[in-house]
Symmetry: none
Subunit: 151 residues, 4 copies
Amino acid sequence: MKYCFLLILLSFSLISYGQNQTLPYLNLEEAKKIADAAEERARQDNWNVVIAILDGGGHLIVLRRMDGTQIGSVEVAQAKAKSAVYFKRPTKVFEDIVNQGNTRILSLPNAVAIEGGIPIFKDGVCVGAIGISGVTSAQDAIIAEAGLKAL
Amino acid sequence: MKYCFLLILLSFSLISYGQNQTLPYLNLEEAKKIADAAEERARQDNWNVVIAILDGGGHLIVLRRMDGTQIGSVEVAQAKAKSAVYFKRPTKVFEDIVNQGNTRILSLPNAVAIEGGIPIFKDGVCVGAIGISGVTSAQDAIIAEAGLKAL
Amino acid sequence: MKYCFLLILLSFSLISYGQNQTLPYLNLEEAKKIADAAEERARQDNWNVVIAILDGGGHLIVLRRMDGTQIGSVEVAQAKAKSAVYFKRPTKVFEDIVNQGNTRILSLPNAVAIEGGIPIFKDGVCVGAIGISGVTSAQDAIIAEAGLKAL
Amino acid sequence: MKYCFLLILLSFSLISYGQNQTLPYLNLEEAKKIADAAEERARQDNWNVVIAILDGGGHLIVLRRMDGTQIGSVEVAQAKAKSAVYFKRPTKVFEDIVNQGNTRILSLPNAVAIEGGIPIFKDGVCVGAIGISGVTSAQDAIIAEAGLKAL
C-alpha cells in the first residue's frame, strides 16, 4: 500500500536522476516541526520517548529525549532512523519479515527489525528518517507517524 | 577563577553525597532553553553549528544541526560535550594544556582538547554539558556560554 | 554440487601449500572486469546496486555504487563479500542454514546469512570475493554470478 | 587562496539554502571520471595507491586499489576523504595546523591531519570528497588534485 506508493515515487525519482543534478533535502525547520508533532503525540499518552531525525546521509538533524526515558533509547531511536534511511523503508518491514520466520535479516548490517523507524521522502527521494524509542514498538511507530504528518 | 569556584562547589557536593539521597539533574525543558539561547546566539552572526546537550551520564537530551553545518560537527559537538561531562571541566582546559605542549592529553580516552564543550553544574553537581561545533572553536565557545546563560 | 567441487579443489590446494611458496591472487584489472560485468548485468534490469570486490585478506580492491542505490548497501555489499572470503563460501550457504532454523549462525562473527556474497577461487585458493547489495538478495546473487563469469 | 574562494562559494550557497529546496550531488559517472584521472596520474609515476570517492554524506561511491598498494591504505584513503567531506576542507588544512604546533586537532573526531583528502564542491555545496593513500602524502595530494581536474 503506502510503501508500494513510495516505491513507485522512488522509481520516478531514479529516472530523473540523470536529468536534474540536484536532490531535495530536509532542513532544520522541517525537522523541528516533525519533532514537535511527535513530542506532542507522545505527551497525549504520557509516553516518554527519544525522537531522532536524520538527514539523507544518516546524520542527526534533531534529537530530543523526554524526561524519564530509558537511556538505551537514545541509541535505539537513532539506530531505527538510520535503518530507515539506509534501506529506504520503515523498520516495520524488517520486523514483519523476521516475525514471519526470516531471521536472516538479523545479519544485515545497520538493519533494525523493530517498528518505530520511518524514512522521509520528498519528490520520491529519501531525504531522511524519523526514529522513535521508549515505549512499545507499536506505540513508537504511532508517534513516528504523527511526526511525519506535520511535514 | 570560575573553575576554581566550581571545584569548591563540587567539593561541598561530594561531602553531601552521604546526607541526602538525591542528585539534581537536567530536564528536557531546561535543555531546550539552553539550546534555544545557543541557537539564537549563533543566528546573530549567521554561524551554522551543531548544538548538543548531554545529561550527567553523557547521554543526549537535545541535539540540533543548523542548515549548512558541516556534517562532521554532529559527532564533534557530542564529543566535546561528552568530554566536558566525563571530566567535569570545559574542553578549553584540555586545549590550554595541549597548547602548552602537554600533548599526552591526546591519549586520554574521551577527552577533546578543543574549546566548545562546557559542563553544566547544579548545586555543585555536574548534571550535563553543552557542546558546540561548526565555526571556529572560540566562536563555538561563545555560543556554548550564551546557551548556559539561559539556565 | 558446485560447492563440493570447490571443496575438493580446496583440498588439493591445501596439500600443495608446502610445495610451492606462492599463492594466486586477484589483481585490479581482474576486479574491474568482474565489476564491469556485474554493473552491466545490473543495468540490464535497471537494478541499482553496490558492487564490492575484496582480496583474499578481506580488503577492498574495487567498490562502485550505482546512482540511487540505498546507502545501506555500501556496508552490506562489503559485509557479504567479507563473509564470503572469511568463510570461503557463498553467503547463500549461511542463508540456507538459517532458513532451515539454525539461527545460531547469526552469532557467528562476520557471517552474513543473506545471498549476494560469493568467494572467488583460483587454483582452489580463495583469492577474494564479490558482494552485491541493492535489490532483492536473489537478484543481488544473479548480479554477483554475472560478475564472476567475466573472470 | 583557493580555500578562501571555496569559503566564499560556500557562503553563497548557505544563503541560497532557504531559497531552493534542492542540493547538487555527485553521480557514479562523475566519480568514475575522477577516479580514472587519478589512476592515470598515479600510473605516470608508477605510484600504487588507493583511490576513494565519497558522496556528500560520507558514503563510498567508488574505491579502487592499485596492485601492490599497502592494505592499510584502503582505510586511510577513506578516512582522508571522510575528513574532507565531514569538515568541508582538505586534510592539508589540518596537517598545516598540526605542523604549526596546534596538536589539539588530533583530538577532533574524524579529522585526518595528513594531506591527500580534498572535498568536492558543486555550486558551493560540498557534494563529496576524494581521498588518496599509498605513497607520500604530498604525492597522494598530487593524485587527488589530478583526479579533481577531470570534473
